[in-house]
């Protein structure tokens, strides 16, 4: 069945130079983006990526006595395409900072402490229902250098692959009820309020753990169902 990927909607997808985020003015192209008719190269995509990208752990929090510091949470994320069809066997990469707001990265100059029991990166495959589950600790907020006081709200980075090359999605998941969400230049660059609110996970408290549910929709749908 032919698969279609339509151009992005500028209300639900941000781009360009964004006020309050200085680097965008040095990096986003000054020329308009060209339109191309997607062909075989764009409407095909990598299968079984785990051949090149090894899978990793699904628990970033650890267990006592080597438990990471912070609020224990579980992230249940689901990947679907625009038809709502769950994507089974899709690769999902996840990374976030520790509970103090520090990344495991040589370029992170934030003076927040490292946590020897925290490891901030996971690479998983979705199951039959298109879902992954990650046990971790809630990330902290962190300041953006030279930004005049911009603090990123707690967030989790996601990278996922859909059915075709044009379905590639890299995004960030936010937490509900965080006052910093209102001021974040990245979250608020999404102009449509409904699209913005879909970037915020839903809290579903369970007996022994705080569960956050989140859905990611990758671009593309079957042409036959599109009528």
């Amino acid at each position: 069945m032919p698969y279609v990927v339509e151009p992005r909607d500028p209300l639900t997808q941000s781009e360009g130079v964004v006020a309050g985020y200085a680097q965008t003015a040095s990096r986003w192209p000054g020329q308009p983006l060209a339109r191309r008719a997607p062909g075989a190269a764009e409407l095909s995509g990598p299968a079984r990526l785990e051949r090149r990208l090894p899978l990793g752990r699904s628990d970033l929090a650890g267990r006592a006595p080597r438990r990471a510091i912070g609020q224990l949470i579980e992230i249940r994320a689901r990947v679907a395409d625009e038809d709502g069809t769950p994507l089974a066997g899709a690769m999902v990469e996840i990374w976030h900072c520790n509970a103090a707001g520090k990344y495991i990265h040589p370029n992170d100059a934030n003076d927040a402490p490292e946590d020897p029991n925290f490891y901030g990166a996971a690479r998983l495959l979705t199951g039959e229902s298109g879902a992954i589950t990650l046990r971790t600790v809630k990330p902290g907020a962190y300041p953006v250098p030279d930004s005049g006081g911009w603090w990123r709200p707690p967030h989790v980075h996601f990278s996922v692959w859909g059915r075709v090359w044009l379905s590639r999605l890299v995004t960030q998941m936010f937490f509900p009820g965080e006052p910093l969400n209102e001021h974040d230049a990245i979250l608020n660059a999404v102009r449509d309020p409904a699209a913005r609110s879909r970037c915020i996970a839903r809290l579903v408290p369970k007996d022994h753990i705080l569960v956050y549910e989140y859905q990611m929709v990758v671009r593309g749908r079957n042409a036959a169902l599109a009528m």
Partner: protein, 151 residues
């Protein structure tokens, strides 16, 4: 049911180094002409950019995108000099798709590296450096800006 695609967001400056490394060699899967693709990524003021993540998608030497024995996908990150590097086999297709992810880019940028001029914009054509080396520099913004696609 029709769902709206999730809003893309910037990769940010802290993509895990272990994710960025180790996926830039596509050789050893099928026979073909081995080539090295290298280039430098720069921003508006000409400064070379460190840790830019570049992903490619290409056909096999026969032009197939669905060969189960050939995974035509790779990832590289630029070093402190702004240089990235892939080793692959020349596809049986006129171009390789490139995707760029970086802090300061609200979402992915898409472009293509062509092997021959043909119909392509000359800024998208790789410069041959010797028999097996292609050079493809990427200027995100400013003089000589690389053309990007908005599909």
């Amino acid at each position: 049911m029709r769902l709206v695609p999730t809003a893309e967001m910037t990769l940010g400056p802290f993509f895990p180094p272990e994710f960025a490394a180790g996926a830039n060699d596509l050789t050893g899967q099928v026979p073909g002409e081995v080539i090295e693709i290298t280039g430098r990524v720069t921003q508006l003021d000409g400064r070379a950019l460190d840790n830019v993540v570049i992903e490619i998608w290409q056909a096999d030497p026969q032009g197939r995108y669905d060969n189960p024995d050939f995974l035509g996908w790779g990832r590289a990150a630029t070093d402190a000099a702004g240089t990235y590097r892939f080793k692959t086999v020349k596809p049986g297709a006129p171009y390789i798709n490139f995707l760029i992810l970086y802090s300061g880019l609200m979402r992915q940028l898409q472009t293509r590296m062509y092997f021959d001029r043909g119909e392509a914009d000359e800024r998208l054509v790789a410069i041959r450096e010797g028999a097996s080396r292609c050079r493809f520099d990427i200027r995100l913004r400013g003089d000589g800006e690389t053309p990007f696609f908005g599909d």
